[in-house]
């Protein structure tokens, strides 16, 4: 499954460590919550990494689905009644996929720079829709008063209100998403997706409809992006328009590049390092954007294969 040595190393170090984290933190809920948020973001960034790095579809509007994941849940759920987590996970994924199908149909008609701008503009359109709407709390967003129950046939597996339980749900989700993407990439579908990125003309000549493969990938990545937004909404019990803002899309792109574009596991690396730096800079100075901006610029100029590329070169050297 994990063929690359660096990737294997990362998976074997990261996931056991992440499993132990809540025990090491001894119920320090602030850090458990913080880490869970970063795990959620990793899912979001990984879905973007698949789209940009593996399919060559550069979008600056991926936050559209992150936000929709949260808002869809708010729209679907009754205000004072606990719903079932599994059923609503299905609803959110299904509706987000349908929306992605329509949006993908429009944005994939274009490519390159046009696609960047159109995805951005569509995401902004949704951003304004929610920030201007009186039904969804405008700029303040909406609170979710009652978290879903997780019963399956009367058996409650975990409690979403418990930060440690929630942390493990996020970790399991992240692992599954990584596994899922690895399986997709190994399948025949994944091979064709790789071929499409490598050379769309030749793939067309081989008899494959490039548009269909792009659209399918767009739907998959968008649905998983929405799942991340849905988890975020469940964790904090509220959604607000900033989830849809272009800054959310932009920073996710930065994280994915920082980790190493197209490597999938690099998305986790990139998200953790970016969020770590963000947290650190924020404690040092109110203007954390200054060191962060300089770092991003240096990264683009000098550090072209991201952290995953760096890790790979280290592992290969040792061999």
């Amino acid at each position: 499954m994990f063929t690359n040595r660096a990737e294997k190393l990362f998976v074997w170090v990261f996931f056991p460590l992440a499993l132990l984290m809540p025990l090491l933190l001894e119920q320090n809920t602030f850090y458990v919550n913080k880490l869970a948020t970063i795990l959620i973001l990793s899912i979001f960034v990984m879905s973007l990494d698949y789209l940009v790095g593996r399919c060559g579809l550069v979008t600056l509007g991926h936050a559209l689905f992150y936000g929709l994941g949260g808002y869809l849940f708010v729209m679907l759920t009754p205000e004072y009644e606990a719903v079932n987590f599994w059923v609503y996970t299905f609803y959110v994924l299904a509706i987000a996929s349908l929306i992605a199908l329509v949006v993908g149909f429009i944005v994939l008609r274009t490519s390159g720079i046009y696609m960047i701008m159109i995805t951005l503009a569509l995401a902004q359109m949704c951003f304004y829709f929610f920030s201007d709407s009186t039904d969804f709390g405008g700029n303040d967003g909406v609170f979710i008063y009652i978290k879903p129950e997780t019963d399956v046939f009367g058996l409650s597996l975990f409690d979403l209100d418990n930060p440690v339980h929630f942390y493990y749900l996020c970790l399991l989700s992240l692992f599954n998403v990584l596994l899922f993407f690895k399986l997709v990439m190994r399948s025949k579908f994944g091979r064709i997706v790789d071929a499409v990125q490598e050379n769309p003309e030749r793939t067309t000549a081989l008899g494959y409809n490039v548009f269909h493969f792009r659209l399918a990938s767009y739907v998959i990545a968008s649905a998983l992006g929405a799942y991340a937004g849905y988890l975020f909404a469940l964790q904090y019990g509220f959604v607000n328009p900033s989830m849809l803002s272009w800054q959310t899309s932009g920073t996710a792109l930065v994280m994915s590049i920082l980790g190493g574009m197209g490597t999938l596991y690099g998305a986790i690396l990139g998200t953790f390092v970016y969020e770590g730096l963000h947290y650190g800079f924020e404690h040092l100075t109110e203007n954390w954007m200054l060191p962060m901006g300089v770092l991003i610029i240096l990264m683009v100029l000098a550090f072209r294969h991201g952290l995953a590329g760096y890790l790979e070169s280290l592992v290969e050297k040792r061999k």
């Binding site: 304004y128 829709f129 590049i257 954007m289 610029i297 683009v300």
Partner: protein, 287 residues
């Protein structure tokens, strides 16, 4: 809506459109000639507005402040192109997007460091501080007319430069084939620096003249950037004529929708864009 109110709003829409044209033309010029998508273009608008605020307060004259600010913006453009953008010419769009996002971060931080996060105001210069009565009830500010006129003059200047001068010929040539222009003995790097600095200056000038009309606030650049994207997508990437038509459409639609459809007003320009794209996926005046 009676006819005078309609005309009044139309003038507002056209004025907003002309201002957008000034900013969007810089964005589209830089993209058309150099193939660079500058996301920090909106930050240049913000920089213009903040510089105008600063120099109006230190020199006391709007005219002097405007000239100093525009020159600083031009120099800033040269600096950015020479140190950063020059490394991006052979890279893909993704790297351009990232580097310019980094620039947005830096400019936002510098703005908050130098001027804080409170909204600031610039007063309209006294020689332009009047209003022309349209009817007994409605009057139109002279300053807005001045801004429209300035935008039109700059637009005509750009049109003449690009279509009637040797420099414009080189710019058009560089647009279609960089390597060939270089082979013919033209210093293309100097041309690129000039184009990028002009783009920055256009955004900054828009920021400078906007400063007395809007409040100078953090994040003003990002809002304008997104509107410019819509303009450029509608008009066709790289086309100045397209930017002009797109900007007027966006300005007028945005102004009228905020009166007639207040609930949908901030979405209307995106709907306009989606409709245009369905008919013409590469914009109205794409090459």
């Amino acid at each position: 809506m009676d006819i005078t109110l309609f005309l009044f709003q139309l003038m507002n829409g056209v004025q907003y459109g002309l201002l957008l044209f000034l900013i969007a033309s810089g964005l589209t010029l830089v993209f058309g000639v150099m193939g660079i998508l500058n996301l920090a273009h909106g930050s240049m608008y913000m920089v213009g507005a903040y510089l105008a605020y600063y120099f109006v307060n230190t020199t006391g004259s709007f005219g002097v402040a405007a000239v100093i600010s525009a020159i600083i913006a031009l120099l800033l453009g040269i600096l950015i192109e020479r140190t950063l953008i020059i490394r991006l010419y052979r890279r893909n769009h993704l790297d351009q997007v990232l580097l310019t996002i980094g620039l947005i971060f830096v400019f936002n931080a510098l703005q908050s460091l130098l001027w804080g996060n409170d909204p600031l105001g610039v007063t309209v210069p006294t020689w332009l501080d009047g209003a022309i009565p349209l009817t007994d009830m409605i009057e139109y500010p002279v300053y807005r007319l001045f801004v429209s006129l300035l935008c039109i003059l700059i637009g005509i200047g750009m049109y003449l430069t690009i279509n009637r001068t040797r420099l414009g010929m080189l710019i058009r040539a560089g647009e279609s084939n960089r390597d060939m222009v270089e082979c013919l003995g033209v210093n293309i790097n100097r041309l690129y620096t000039l184009v990028f600095a002009t783009g920055v200056a256009l955004a900054a000038i828009a920021g400078i003249v906007s400063a007395p009309m809007v409040s100078v606030v953090p994040g003003m650049g990002e809002h304008v950037l997104i509107a410019c994207f819509v303009v450029v997508v509608i008009g066709g990437m790289g086309s100045i004529k397209g930017a002009f038509v797109g900007a007027l459409m966006v300005g007028i639609v945005d102004t009228f929708s905020s009166i007639m459809l207040p609930q949908l007003s901030s979405m209307m320009i995106y709907i306009l864009m989606a409709v245009v794209l369905l008919v013409k996926p590469k914009g109205l005046f794409a090459h």
